[in-house]
């Protein structure tokens, strides 16, 4: 199975040197290339890497606030109060974490296969639409638990279909999935607006259009305070299940191989297109679940501007957590706190709520730009993404990756064969 190595195009001298590094990244976890540093210095470097980017982002954001004529201290205090000030504030942050996390996981799973799903926004909305549709079809004919399960399944199916469009276009026509999933977000928003303003409009809604309210058994029970619903528990469940699947199942491993290098995976006999499509679909289903939780747990109905921006913030969260399902929890919670802090910004400083997007984008830019200097140490999930993080094309060696992953794939398939 290692023969493809010989078929790889000629590799020039510096590339040859890089082969071992790429192999080690794709097969095992990356070795610590800073080996020479004493442990204490390593801790400081690590702490700086975690704290540096957010601190830099906060500083630049403060500068923008000053330019706008607002007091940064007041603004930050307002943000803190509305995100963590009291139990209700904390509950709100928790609630916002749910759809954010689901959108982040919708990015993370395809990223394992080297695909860019930027369609979390649309997939969230489709999930909400699917859940609402199911509730309307059932119309209270079933008890609460089966109703909610069916609503969740409908939401997941709708999100799955929406993501599968982008994934399918990639497989069948070669259309880049980043662009198709982005454009599908606009279609999803238009679809939602159409449903809410026309066929599903609540006749009682006058000024603002919304759909009919979900009642009784169609709503998730509140478990804490006034608003925190049962679905919040999934914040702990879904990422762990996903992590186990991606790490310990053959399917999860195959995804990593495809993400490592599609060409090598193809030569090793994996169905690259099908695996990518499945990864997109699973991501879409998770986002769909997020949409269902929002409509059944928080909104209780469809509104035209529900969940605006959450798909994009979820994308940021996934990158912040380096596409790791467990790290996505922390990243989503942090960005959810910033998002909720936006309300405080509005109240305390009279700024527009969208202004917090600046802070989130700055944090991500700082993280993207800050850590790549040390990209030899960082552990991104796949070679494709790792190679994408390199400084210039002249230094990126796809050929080396082909060789490296072909070796990895060969070993793994041999191992699987031995087990069977």
């Amino acid at each position: 199975m290692t023969t493809p190595v010989n078929d790889a195009p000629a590799v020039d001298a510096p590339g040859v040197e890089e082969v071992p590094a790429v192999v080690s990244i794709s097969v095992a976890t990356a070795p610590d290339a800073r080996g020479g540093l004493p442990a204490a210095a390593g801790v400081v470097v690590r702490a700086l890497r975690w704290l540096g980017p957010p601190a830099a982002a906060l500083a630049v954001f403060a500068l923008f606030l000053v330019l706008k004529g607002a007091s940064p201290a007041e603004a930050f205090e307002g943000m803190w109060r509305s995100a963590f000030g009291d139990g209700d504030a904390f509950g709100e942050t928790l609630l916002r974490t749910v759809p954010l996390l689901m959108a982040a996981l919708a990015v993370a799973v395809p990223a394992r296969a080297g695909l860019f799903n930027i369609g979390g926004e649309g997939q969230l909305l489709l999930g909400a639409i699917g859940a609402q549709a199911m509730a309307m079809v059932l119309d209270g004919s079933l008890p609460s638990a089966p109703t909610l399960v069916l609503m969740a399944l409908a939401g997941m199916a709708a999100g799955l279909v929406w993501a599968a469009i982008a994934g399918g276009l990639r497989v069948v026509t070669g259309m880049n999935e980043a662009i198709s999933s982005l454009l599908l977000n606009y279609l999803a928003a238009i679809l939602l607006a159409w449903l809410v303003f026309e066929p599903w409009k609540d006749p009682n809604s006058l000024g603002q259009a919304y759909s009919e309210e979900l009642v009784g058994g169609e709503r998730l029970p509140v478990i804490w305070g006034d608003r925190v619903h049962l679905g919040v528990l999934l914040v702990a469940v879904v990422p762990v299940v996903l992590w186990l699947v991606l790490r310990y199942t053959p399917w999860g491993f195959k995804l990593r191989v495809v993400g490592g290098n599609p060409e090598a995976a193809r030569r090793a006999g994996l169905r690259v297109g099908g695996l990518g499509l499945a990864a997109m679909a699973l991501g879409g289903a998770i986002a769909g679940l997020g949409g269902m939780l929002e409509v059944a747990g928080v909104e209780g109905r469809l509104r035209p501007d529900m969940l605006v921006g959450f798909g994009y913030i979820g994308f940021l969260a996934s990158w912040l957590g380096r596409h790791h399902p467990l790290k996505a929890i922390g990243a989503s919670a942090a960005l959810a706190a910033v998002a909720v802090g936006g309300n405080g910004l509005k109240v305390a400083s009279g700024l527009s709520g969208g202004a917090v997007n600046v802070l989130m984008a700055l944090v991500l830019l700082a993280v993207l730009g800050w850590s790549q200097k040390e990209s030899k140490e960082t552990r991104a999930p796949s070679v494709a993404l790792r190679v994408g993080l390199r400084r210039s094309a002249a230094r990126a060696r796809p050929e080396a990756a082909v060789a490296g992953v072909a070796v990895a794939t060969g070993e793994a398939l041999d191992a699987e064969g031995a087990r069977a």
Partner: protein
């Protein structure tokens, strides 16, 4: 149905999509995908609108839009080229930054009237029947966009800078061998592309809609990135791509105005559906024409 007004609307509306498409063609020819085009457009639109209001001179506004678009693109270029971050992710984050910045600084300008760029009728030609209204009764930036497309086409093919730019996108190693830094070439190309996107935003805010609202570009920057593939990275075909989108938009607006039985919301989806379908049909044929360094990005292989 009034074909004349649909086509005139397509040309007027196509300008704000032609500029970013041209900008993206230039950036991608050098080997860099810039999804931050949407952010450049938003910042360009707000900068043009705000400066236009504050100074009362729309042309100063246009200049400000150009600069704002270029600055946003420089953020993308720096993070991608100097820091080695992923291109698609960085671009999206830059767009998000643009959305946030324009939300922060734009809230005071919502609903304020601007001194608009006035239409300039081309002497004699504008009096032609049919063609006069379709082609020769527009704002100056619209005429300039066509000139810019031809200029970009000529520059890419015939000038030393154009050859260098294409080399950066095809074989950066070769460029290094000849003593030119591919990174510098790409930085300039991305910045120039952002300036064009800013110009597109400026035209949108000060000449086409003559209004500012949050997120007013409605994905035009992303559509421009898609249309670049449609145009096979050719500035002249970018004109066709831009008018394809704006033509679909003008058609649906005309249908709305005439009051069809179709819902206005579904009509609104029409231009996006057209772009997705056309790209789906053409992608497999077009990707072979992609600059070498770029296909690595699209296939998730390298930056």
């Amino acid at each position: 149905m009034n074909v004349e007004s649909i086509l005139a609307g397509a040309v007027a509306g196509g300008t704000s999509i032609l500029y970013p498409t041209l900008g993206e063609v230039i950036a991608e020819r050098s080997g860099v995908v810039n999804l931050g085009t949407e952010g450049s457009m938003l910042c360009g639109a707000l900068a043009a609108y705000a400066v236009g209001i504050e100074t009362g001179n729309p042309w100063l506004g246009v200049l400000a839009g150009l600069v704002a678009g270029a600055l946003m693109a420089m953020v993308h270029a720096y993070v991608v080229l100097a820091r080695g971050a992923n291109q698609l992710a960085t671009g999206l984050v830059v767009s998000f930054l643009g959305l946030g910045l324009t939300s922060l600084f734009g809230q005071d300008y919502v609903g304020r009237g601007v001194e608009a760029l006035t239409d300039w009728d081309v002497p004699l030609l504008s009096e032609l029947p049919f063609l006069g209204r379709v082609l020769f009764q527009h704002d100056p930036l619209t005429y300039l966009s066509i000139v810019a497309a031809f200029a970009a086409w000529w520059a890419l093919r015939r000038t030393r800078a154009g050859v260098r730019l294409r080399a950066a996108g095809e074989r950066p190693e070769v460029l290094s061998t000849f003593g030119t830094s591919p990174v510098r070439v790409r930085f300039l190309a991305v910045t120039c592309g952002g300036a064009l996107a800013g110009l597109g935003g400026a035209q949108l805010a000060t000449a086409f809609t003559r209004n500012w609202s949050e997120g007013m570009t409605a994905g035009r920057g992303y559509i421009a990135v898609g249309l670049t593939i449609f145009a096979a990275w050719d500035p002249l075909r970018a004109i066709a791509g831009a008018y394809l989108f704006s033509g679909a938009e003008a058609l649906q607006l005309q249908l709305q105005a005439e009051g069809t039985s179709l819902s206005p919301f579904l009509l609104q989806a029409f231009p996006y559906v057209v772009v997705i379908l056309v790209l789906a049909l053409l992608s497999s044929r077009r990707l072979g024409a992609a600059p070498e360094a770029l296909s690595r990005v699209f296939e998730g292989r390298a930056a």
